[in-house]
């Protein structure tokens, strides 16, 4: 008689077609044209980016599009020293919350072409576009130093 079976493998494979929705589709198509689009809330007037078709605080649909600068400020960041599957990045690398000029919410993205030890809160950074134009956040390959003086803490402390 066999010993009690301890376990077995249960493979699951579910195929989905992801639909980005209206707002994200427009945003991503903008990226393919190297334009970063936010949406302004008709009530609070804040510019949300990436836009999601609704203002999360006012609960109203957002439609007005605002083109944002590709330059912004690092509000905070982290340096990553462990590898995540299929990423195959050189360690360490840095990810930052970036407040693009003209936006009121931050974008979490990669900072490169800067030694990680030099990355700091308040640093001004600029988007580096990928050669291939496609409707994807990958169109922004990463951000690099913009070569501008750091933004003062007071200018971004409400965006941490």
């Amino acid at each position: 008689m066999s010993d009690a079976i301890k376990g077995f493998t249960a493979p699951v494979r579910l195929a989905y077609t992801v639909n980005a929705g209206r707002a994200a589709s427009r945003f991503l198509r903008g990226l393919a044209e190297r334009r970063i689009l936010g949406q302004r809330c008709p009530v609070c007037k804040k510019v949300n980016m990436p836009p999601r078709g609704a203002c999360p605080t006012c609960g109203v649909p957002t439609e007005e599009e605002v083109q944002l600068s590709e330059v912004g400020t690092v509000t905070t960041f982290c340096i990553i020293n462990i590898q995540f599957d299929a990423q195959a990045r050189e360690l360490p690398y840095a990810c930052a919350s970036i407040l693009l000029d003209g936006a009121d919410t931050t974008l979490f993205h990669l900072i490169q072409e800067v030694p990680v030890a030099e990355i700091r809160m308040g640093m001004r950074v600029r988007a580096v576009w990928d050669d291939e134009r496609r409707p994807s956040l990958d169109s922004i390959r990463h951000f690099r130093a913009a070569g501008e003086p750091d933004a003062p803490y007071d200018s971004y402390k409400e965006h941490l």
């Binding site: 493998t9 989905y16 992801v18």
Partner: protein
């Protein structure tokens, strides 16, 4: 590529090999299947539950395993004319609740009846196991049931 006024869509596959741990009761039943045997488990009220669980429907713990014959009776069934990739059989078959002889609850599995017209409620069936060298301790070690000769509904 979608038109400009359409939403972007993209394929996404959620794929993962989950690892189930069985615990003692499911593990014992799967071991029996690996050996080509069927077992139930005795509930506190004396009934025999198949497939065995650690508990009866009131949450009370179950007791000893009970050896069962590989034969039973169909209590309900449906016909699958076009089997899907994850089904136990590639040719048309019946899903059936089979009450094994000596059991008090019915087990869901496939019946390889070939023709829908051969199936009926009350049909007598026998377990067909996968080949011994293919059995690993899995519910599919019980490949399916087949109609007992003479009981097919022609």
């Amino acid at each position: 590529m979608a038109r400009d006024d359409e939403n972007l869509t993209a394929p996404y596959v959620l794929e993962y090999k989950y690892r189930r741990s069985c615990g003692p009761v499911v593990g014992r039943f799967l071991a029996a299947l690996k050996d080509g045997r069927l077992e139930g488990v005795r509930a506190a009220d004396g009934r025999v539950i198949v497939p065995p669980t650690e508990y009866d429907e009131h949450g009370e713990p179950t007791g000893e395993p009970v050896a069962l014959a590989p034969t039973g009776t169909v209590t309900a069934w449906s016909w699958v004319a076009a089997p899907r990739a994850n089904h136990p059989l590639a040719r048309p078959f019946a899903w059936a609740l089979v009450k094994l002889d000596g059991a008090d609850t019915a087990l869901l599995h496939a019946v390889d009846a070939v023709e829908e017209s051969r199936m009926k409620t009350g049909a007598r069936v026998r377990a067909r196991f996968a080949a011994a060298d293919e059995r690993v301790g899995h519910i599919r070690d019980l490949a399916c049931f087949e109609l007992l000769p003479g009981d097919a509904h022609e």
